[in-house]
Symmetry: C2
């Protein structure tokens, strides 16, 4: 007979993805602001630190040599080369948070989400997108953090990324200047997933 | 290439079920109070009207002859005999609401939910339950609307109903004296389901 435990003791792994520039970081900050508790997994990367970014907070900034060592030691849940730089999700951080019973949020590009879907099929996969592709172009340009060439390279990826949408459980449209709504939608997904029968039923 | 439409044009069918006496009606009233818009499908029944119940609001109270005619005309989405009375979901009401783009909530017993799962597999199935079976017994007794025999008959059903839990997408524990929390959880499920990729993606 199946039984149900009232509190969800199984922490969630939430994978937040979407095109570059869509607002993943702002969304994560937004849900923390409205009181959702979680452990944010800091990505390891070999890319250059941008102004204002802090090592260990925004990314673990590593040399290519150090990153290669993590690969060799199998210390990454997934990793990928994107626009010539390496990005990876440290296994240790995810494991430690889950052991403490904390929900975990992993931010990855769509390529990474596809890998994580195979590795952690029970994770909750959320795709963040703009209302229209045009707006996405504007956002990427507005960031001013990349050269014109880099923007073009990224745009080629956009069509590909939209096609990957079917990998995801949820899609949230991030409407410009309404981050509160986006954050509330993602927070609602996290709360709702805790009511999923498949996460709560223990077969006896 | 798949595309996404920003507003969910496909209204939801929400099936709310759970053991008798768990608080399904109070939950439905609760989510309406916090501003969730939906069409509540009034069940047709042959059971006796209880004090305070209004025909067409709480149930469509029908004679056995009228109910049989609805069965013959195939006007019910599902129907069942429970404790000697007939209960059924009128097709017409569901169809009309969906055509207007309204989300629909259907309240059924667990037996009915199993039938609806086959008929409307894309519906959202929510199981409402008490924290413990003991509390459920207390609730049913407190209702005082049934004879002692009827309560016993119902209790035999409880074990069976818990076994059916695996049919459902979500399970919400209705904690006594905290209806607001239950209503918020169900409202959250409805909002979250609108972000499901499977409901939003149109393949082109």
């Amino acid at each position: 007979m199946p039984t149900v435990h009232p509190g969800s003791k199984h922490p969630l792994v939430i994978v937040l993805s979407g095109p570059s520039g869509v607002g993943k970081d702002a969304t994560i900050a937004g849900i923390r602001e409205i009181g959702v508790k979680f452990h944010y997994v800091v990505t390891a990367t070999t890319r250059e630190k941008r102004p204002g970014e802090v090592d260990g907070v925004h990314y673990h900034f590593l040399t290519k040599r150090d990153f290669q060592e993590m690969i060799v030691r199998d210390e990454l849940l997934e990793y990928a080369e994107v626009y010539g730089n390496f990005y990876g999700v440290p296994k240790k951080e995810v494991r430690q948070a889950l052991e403490k019973g904390q929900d975990v949020i992993i931010k990855v590009d769509v390529q990474g989400a596809a890998t994580l879907k195979k590795r952690i099929p029970d994770a909750v996969f959320i795709f963040l997108m703009t209302p229209s592709p045009d707006e996405l172009v504007d956002r990427i340009k507005a960031r001013n953090a990349d050269s014109e060439t880099s923007v073009k390279t990224r745009m080629l990826k956009v069509g590909e990324e939209l096609e990957s949408l079917l990998l995801f459980d949820y899609c949230v449209v991030n409407i410009k200047d309404d981050l509160a709504r986006t954050a509330e939608a993602v927070a609602g997904i996290i709360r709702t997933e805790k009511h999923r029968v498949k996460r709560r039923v223990i077969k006896i």
